[in-house]
Amino acid sequence: MLPNLKVENLSCVRSEKAIFENLNFDVFPGQNIEIIGSNGSGKTTLLRAILGLIRPENGTIRWLDDDNNFNEYRTYDCFYQGHQLGIKNLLTVFENLNLTHNAKGLKKEKIYKCLERVGLSNINDLASSLSVGQRKRISIARWLLKDFKIYFIDEPFSALDDEATNLIERLIIELNTEGCSFVMTGHRPSQVNASRIEI
Amino acid sequence: MLPNLKVENLSCVRSEKAIFENLNFDVFPGQNIEIIGSNGSGKTTLLRAILGLIRPENGTIRWLDDDNNFNEYRTYDCFYQGHQLGIKNLLTVFENLNLTHNAKGLKKEKIYKCLERVGLSNINDLASSLSVGQRKRISIARWLLKDFKIYFIDEPFSALDDEATNLIERLIIELNTEGCSFVMTGHRPSQVNASRIEI
């Protein structure tokens, strides 16, 4: 089986300081990668470099296209969830899902279903009145909007209670069986079935 | 022994929704309270209500003064660390410590020592280039600036690696022996020696 994403020899430098060097890994469909590292080790930087938000110093990032060739540019949508979740205080929970660019052309019912899956019931409340964890759930509901090939999630488990942690773990398993992969970060290995990379 | 802080019958209401009701607890010198609750259960609200940033619906918060009486107003400094850490991107790590109001009148050496304790070495970097965890360490360094009686820390352990987690645990024990108390929140019980309150 071919990997969806090949990362080769990746190095990043920020303000003249090498953050990580010569990283190599492949992301296979349905399999997960967990990047483990302490504070400031460059996990966030790595995710953003893969997605093209930061220019790496060295190395290549190659994506599989429909003809089984590896390209430098992406041919499909990926999902990225960073430290900041992109939630608008002046929109309701429902609108925060419905008016995301990924929700283009989706039916209302689909959106309701996504929100139900993550256990958000107060869908007509403004997001400004939500707690930190409830906001994170909105972001998790967004995972389900479309069939993304790869999810890049920065610290999925931080600031969550056990219920939400379980929810995520179940969702990841489910999405894995559909052939999606997760590239996640964390400070210590999680329960999720994944190959781990220490940086 | 008398408690430093007595919380009695505390209830909070936000946008007409009762967040928590009839909470009672005392904070004794050198002892810790950990408030455990899931996302949106009102942990942050509770801390802010105790500190007077939010007006509670009901109940009293009373502080011990020098003559062993309980007052409604605080007679000593407390330390509060919320979800937002109050770190200025345009100041260096050192200045972020030195120019806090709590650092009034402190010697430079003292500041250096605090930073050393939390393992921050790049003290002349601008804070804008720090990772999330490194920022949290600056905030931890601030704990050591003065002798605070009670520390109110919102989710001390989230977004931290094992090294930092250990550091905090050690610091808490050390400060406890000096008679300081911690009121902390979290999603699950931590390793810290504390009486737990579920909300």
């Binding site: 002046l90 403004l126 400004s128 | 946008s15 007409e16």
Partner: protein, 237 residues
């Protein structure tokens, strides 16, 4: 009166009375002013716009004073109902101020020859209008209504400084605008045939304010107490 359900019930009783007095006073005053009272020897019939212009001007100012008092009470004692009153009064006051500006301009065209001059009284009235706009704009940006009330209360306390300026503008600066005739200390210089209908109109305008304020306030109370039991009871049965 402090408790919302009490206010609601009490206001249902007085609303009809307020409505009726308003109607009687306004129709009497306007009829008298527009059709019965004598024609002005200088201006002809245009002057009759006075019966709208002057009462609305006085109302625009009085309502702001009323709001500032509400605001003061709200800031000091945190009486919720005074905050709601302030909120309910603001659009009414703004409308009256707009009415002064419009009637004044319409009156100015034939008598002064332009729609607008930059004279002290006109300008200070315009500033009052802007302050109303700022208050209403500020209220609309704050989601939590109680907070919005307090914010607007604070601003209204500062804003009330404009009222003496409007009042005194005709005395302090050389203006094109008429000086005051309505004063408490001396008798009016107008003829009683003109003065009396004006007084009745003014009373009518005040009653209209009381009437519309009560209506607005009822809506406001219902809106804020939407989830309370008494509202649900009232509207389900």
């Amino acid at each position: 009166m402090g408790s919302p359900p009490l206010f609601y019930n009490w206001s249902s009783k007085i609303i009809p009375w307020l409505g009726i007095t308003t109607l009687v006073l306004l129709s009497l005053g306007i009829y008298w002013g527009l059709f019965v009272s004598p024609i002005d020897y200088k201006q002809g019939d245009v002057y009759r716009i006075l019966y709208i212009h002057v009462p609305s001007a006085i109302l625009g100012e009085s309502i702001f004073i009323f709001m500032a008092i509400c605001g003061f009470i709200n800031v000091i004692w945190r009486a919720k109902i005074s905050g709601m009153m302030l909120k309910a009064a603001a659009p009414i006051g703004m409308s009256f101020t707009l009415l002064v500006l419009v009637t004044g301009s319409v009156w100015g065209k034939p008598t002064w020859g332009t729609w607008w001059v930059w004279d002290a009284r006109l300008t200070s009235t315009l500033i009052l209008f802007f302050i109303y706009a700022a208050l209403i704009g500020l209220h609309s940006t704050i989601e939590d209504k109680t907070k919005a009330d307090r914010a607007v209360s604070i601003l209204s306390i500062v804003g009330v400084a404009i009222i003496p300026v409007i009042k005194k503008s005709v005395d302090w600066w050389q203006t094109l605008h008429q000086p005051s005739t309505f004063t408490i200390t001396s008798s009016p210089s107008m003829s009683p045939e003109m003065y009396l209908p004006l007084l009745i109109c003014l009373l009518g305008f005040y009653m209209f304010f009381a009437f519309s304020l009560t209506l607005n306030l009822r809506n406001e109370v219902l809106d804020r107490e939407r989830s309370k039991a008494w509202v649900k009871q009232n509207f389900n049965s």
